[in-house]
Symmetry: C2
Subunit: 193 residues, 2 copies
């Protein structure tokens, strides 16, 4: 059996945690929960569910509503094992970030101060929007789903931190204050934390 993708584990985990689901339901669940750190589109979900079925990690049951097709998937014992192995195994988990706004910050030297502040403001706006999304999107704490809640708190904390960082930088730039560390004797310690 080939290595399972991260997205495969996402589907396995979702069905494990939420109980038997259709592809459509999973799609919606992802949109209000893992989307912020692991997205998945329908073009990925449906084929992957089929693959997991033929690999024996999911079972499919056809349960049409009227004449509308509907495939409900459940995790098999083999699937449970695969999920547990993934959760406890430590093989270089994917961490990938593409932050175009931060790239703009990186290149902001040639801009005027006003333009620089705008770049940082745009970065803050983006993270504020994500905070909003997280606040609205994810359902409140439910017993047995402690870690759903914990990773939700992570999202709030993380983007909240970025927003604060941007605010600080904005006011430093606005007041012509060279960000603190740049002149100190040990710049790293001073501002990094």
């Amino acid at each position: 059996m080939t290595e399972l993708s991260g997205t495969a584990h996402l589907l396995l985990g979702m069905i494990r945690v939420k109980g038997r689901r259709t592809g459509y339901e999973i799609k919606r669940l992802v949109e209000v929960s893992t989307r912020f750190f692991w997205a998945a589109s329908p073009g990925q979900i449906y084929p992957e569910l089929r693959r997991l079925e033929s690999a024996g990690l999911l079972t499919r049951s056809e349960e049409p509503h009227g004449s509308r097709a509907r495939n409900v998937y459940s995790v098999t014992e083999q699937g449970e094992r695969a999920l547990h192995d993934w959760l406890t195994g430590g093989s270089a988990p994917t961490f990938e970030l593409r932050n175009e706004q931060l790239l703009k910050v990186f290149f902001a030297d040639a801009l005027t101060t006003e333009e620089q502040i705008d770049v940082v403001r745009a970065m803050r706006a983006q993270h504020e929007a994500m905070l909003d999304g997280i606040r609205k999107a994810t359902p409140p704490y439910r017993p047995g789903r402690k870690f759903g809640y914990i990773s939700w708190l992570y999202g709030l904390g993380h983007h909240g931190w970025v927003v604060d960082w941007c605010k600080q930088l904005e006011s430093d730039l606005a007041e012509g204050r060279i960000p603190h560390a740049l002149e100190g004797s040990d710049p790293v310690a001073a501002r990094a934390r």
Copy 2:
């Protein structure tokens, strides 16, 4: 002219900021600087440089070392303009995150407490490794490159925050402490920031 990709702007910006460079030099620069928030592989860099050349945003000059081929690129005026437009324009900049370890945290409910702590520890280790990478990889502050330095500080601050968050969660889990917020009346405000 088609929309320029983020990676195109990366190359434009790098050459703008560092002066005329070869593809190879850019590749190395990316490895020690933007890689943490905008990666680029040789398989992308070389073709993209050619594309930017034929779009008139870069000029290429052949400067072999001995008989070894060597193409040095510079930013044209048109390229400067494109870069400035990108920096000051605000068209939904890419923000994409794939954090497999956080996905594991999300699904950690079914594990034993020991296993749960291991998952968080692995997450912390990953971010500590990135902190190390950032500390070592990026050159110290140089005049005229304030924003290179600022985004470096961002990396330290960001991953430092995650490491602290993990430490807190690890001790909460180890001591059977239900993460604070879960019982309070307003859980969100309590732990989110």
